[in-house]
């Protein structure tokens, strides 16, 4: 039994045991996605607040669907429709949501540490659905689940991450998660997006600005989205990026036929990834989406299905045949 999760703010704070527990809990929910009737009453009467202070479609829909399939209700807050534009502080907005008594807050925000900040000020459990350029814990969990399904393990793999590492919360969460299971990393991208300090985020992290070199021996290739708004700073011509860093079928051959290709989405075909790779047999992109549901269902189940009393409820539950 893993230590009780109060919030999920980062992967860095989790133990390997807690991560393994969450992945195991996600298994029945993977199965569940194949059911005819995709509706449980497990979280009936519970409310999940979805507070998205930054535009997001897939993560928000994934959490909303996960909550709904577990029978929970959702409260939706989107930045554009919220009072944020009127200058209300994050803390006031969060307190207002909290006053409506949801059972947890799922939060996406463009500032690193925003979920941590809210969790520090409120008692309600907070799930970080992406904070600035810090972490995106559920993305790393669903990536791990996908890798484990395909390869049978997430231990001691060679993982290559390609793209804007510096500004990527997906890269950080994956480094922390897979790093706890002995994976070796090669980070690849334009040099200004590859600060040396990333080598300090894990025991076995190396950098390479040459994609051919970075793909050598890779078991898993994680392609990051190129955030076009970042290209201006520092300025890098798009064509240059495509020429040097696009994952093409030829380049994927360097990694070999067993290498998996993951992408957190939204994916821009023809920019960071060649359509032939995106649709090819090594691509796990759609499994990632389905697994995202399973992971988020497991997380909501673990965090809000059970109570907080520490009485002998387990003992009596066993007797309740």
């Amino acid at each position: 039994m893993a230590e009780r999760l109060r919030d999920l703010l980062s992967i860095e704070d989790l133990t390997a045991q807690q991560i393994a527990f969450l992945l195991d809990e996600a298994k029945p929910f993977q199965e569940f996605q194949r059911y005819l009737l995709k509706k449980l009453a497990t979280l009936r009467g519970k409310t999940v607040a979805l507070a998205f202070f930054e535009a997001s479609t897939r993560t928000r829909i994934s959490f909303a669907t996960a909550a709904s399939r577990l029978g929970a209700d959702t409260m939706n807050l989107q930045a554009e429709s919220s009072s944020l534009k009127k200058g209300e502080s994050l803390l006031d907005t969060a307190r207002t949501l909290d006053a409506m008594k949801p059972d947890c807050i799922v939060m996406r925000h463009s500032c690193s540490g925003a979920a941590d900040f809210v969790a520090r000020h409120l008692d309600i459990p907070v799930i970080n659905a992406g904070d600035g350029t810090h972490e995106h814990p559920t993305q790393a969990l669903l990536d791990a689940l996908t890798i484990r399904d395909r390869r049978g393990t997430i231990e001691n793999l060679n993982v290559t991450i390609i793209g804007d590492i510096l500004h990527s919360r997906v890269a950080r969460s994956n480094l922390h998660l897979l790093g706890k299971f002995g994976c070796r990393f090669t980070l690849c991208g334009p040099p200004m997006w590859l600060p040396r300090e990333f080598e300090c985020l894990g025991k076995r992290v190396r950098r390479s600005s040459k994609i051919d070199d970075a793909l050598e021996g890779a078991d898993v290739v994680i392609v990051l989205r190129v955030q076009q708004e970042r290209l201006h700073e520092p300025s890098l011509p798009l064509d240059e990026y495509i020429l040097l860093y696009q994952l093409t079928p030829e380049r994927l051959q360097i990694a070999g036929p067993d290498a998996l290709v993951l992408h957190p989405g939204p994916m821009i075909r023809g920019l960071e990834i060649d359509p032939a790779v995106a649709d090819g047999p090594q691509s796990c992109v759609l499994e990632q989406v389905t697994n995202g549901l399973a992971v988020r269902m497991a997380l909501l189940f673990v965090m809000i299905a059970t109570g907080s009393e520490t009485d002998d409820a387990r003992g009596s539950a066993h007797a309740a045949h």
Binding site: L90, G113, R172, L201
Partner: protein, 425 residues
């Protein structure tokens, strides 16, 4: 009449470190004599300083009192009360008030207000450029007549070498020091902490140390060109320190200050709490070690607080959105004493850094001698206490040192012969 008896007088100006009695009358020191059981003066009070250090009055070269314009976070009254609690007898508020202190009428308004309500002397610093906008010179001469002690656009660097040269040419003739907030803003853009392992880990935008030292290098060359006195505000890196050290060696009139938070904390201490957000940001461990070395070897001239109060609501936001700065008056001495206890700084150097050091930056003298103004700081090196921000005299509580346990504290702060602060009151 006031008698301070039995104290250990440490006066760097004369090299004194001995037990003395000090008599004070009409705001001045009248007599100093070896301690041997004197009686209380017939018409005054005797303060027992047995076991305490008696130093010249502490000067803070760098603070923000927020008045006029920012009274919700601090006023001259509350700020100087906090300063007196921290042992300071004189503080130099930066000109970034609203309106900016860039002309004589603002300077006079600050000084009039200070005369009415301040617990300490207030020595204002005037803006170098109009509105601190970095475009054209402020009314520096007029402000000097009104009472400013230095010029600076603190909060912002002086943007161009050309403007800096004009300011320095001008101030050389007025014999005013020019204080620059050294920063290459193009490298700083959007940063909220020092660039390094921790900024990468937290996903916070980092500024490299070079953003400061590039500007320090430029400023020292302009100093060489103009012959002006130049002071680096809140210096925070080894590279900047090396430039100052080399400048001093060449005989330039260059000085610098270091804040208590920069010699106490480092970037690894940063968490998602805006009480760890200041500019310059907390430096690397290596830089911190270099700063401490500079404090000890004399390269650093002064410890300055950069006391920057912000009302709670503005700091209780996302790290990226919070304003820079922390309060510092009440913890400065206690943090410096931590260095003394760790054997990294002598007590004499500590006293220098709070007294004769900053005085010299301003072209002033600071000593305990008959006829001199009776500005004295009496402190304990042993007193155990815990800093509780809700007990602070400042109107703001934005400090990472809330709850820190300290050994050593100011016991009496004497400003112009009057007891401005007495511990326990």
């Amino acid at each position: 009449m006031l008698l301070i008896k039995n104290g250990r007088v440490i006066d760097p100006s004369s090299g004194t470190d001995a037990k003395r009695n000090i008599w004070i009358d009409r705001g001045r020191v009248t007599r100093i004599a070896p301690a041997e059981g004197p009686e209380a003066p017939p018409n005054g009070e005797a303060l027992d300083a047995t076991g305490l250090v008696v130093a010249p009055g502490f000067i803070d070269l760098h603070c923000h009192l927020r008045e006029p314009g920012g009274e919700s976070s601090e006023t001259i009254e509350t700020g100087t009360r906090a300063a007196a609690r921290g042992g300071f007898t004189a503080v130099c508020p930066m000109p970034n008030t609203r309106p900016v202190n860039d002309n004589a009428s603002v300077t006079r308004a600050i000084l009039e207000r200070a005369a009415a309500v301040a617990s300490t002397h207030v020595w204002p610093i005037g803006a170098a450029s109009l509105g601190s906008r970095g475009e054209s010179l402020a009314e520096i001469g007029a402000m000097q007549k009104a009472g400013i002690v230095a010029v600076s656009d603190d909060g912002r660097p002086i943007p161009s070498a050309k403007l800096l040269r004009q300011v320095m040419d001008y101030c050389r003739e007025l014999d005013l020091p020019v204080i620059d907030h050294c920063e290459d803003t193009s490298l700083f853009a959007g940063a909220v902490m020092r660039e390094g392992r921790q900024s990468v880990r937290l996903g916070l935008r980092g500024m490299p140390a070079a953003a400061e030292s590039i500007a320090v290098g430029r400023d020292i060359q302009v100093t060489e060109l103009t012959g002006c006195r130049f002071h680096v505000a809140h210096l925070s890196s080894q590279a900047s320190l090396d430039l100052v050290r080399a400048g001093k060696k060449r005989g330039l009139r260059v000085s610098c200050e270091v804040t208590p938070h920069h010699f106490t904390l480092c970037d690894e201490d940063v968490v998602y709490d805006a009480r760890f957000k200041m500019n310059p940001p907390l430096a690397s461990k290596e830089d911190r070690a270099a700063l401490i070395e500079g404090l000890a070897d004399g390269t650093v001239d002064a410890i300055a607080t950069d006391h920057a109060p912000h009302e709670a609501a503005t700091k209780e936001v996302e790290f990226d959105l919070a304003p820079f700065g922390i309060t510092g008056f009440e913890t400065a001495l206690a943090l410096a004493l931590e260095l003394v206890r760790a054997g990294k700084l002598s007590l004499l150097r500590l006293v220098e850094l709070f007294t004769t050091g900053p005085a010299r930056v301003l072209g002033r003298k600071r000593s305990i001698a008959p006829g001199e103004p009776a500005d004295l700081t009496v402190f304990s090196t042993d007193h155990l206490w815990t800093f509780e921000v809700n007990q602070s005299a400042s109107r703001s509580g934005n400090t990472p040192f809330d709850g820190r346990k300290f050994r050593g504290a100011p016991m009496f702060t004497i400003v112009a012969g009057r007891i401005a602060y007495r511990r326990g009151e």
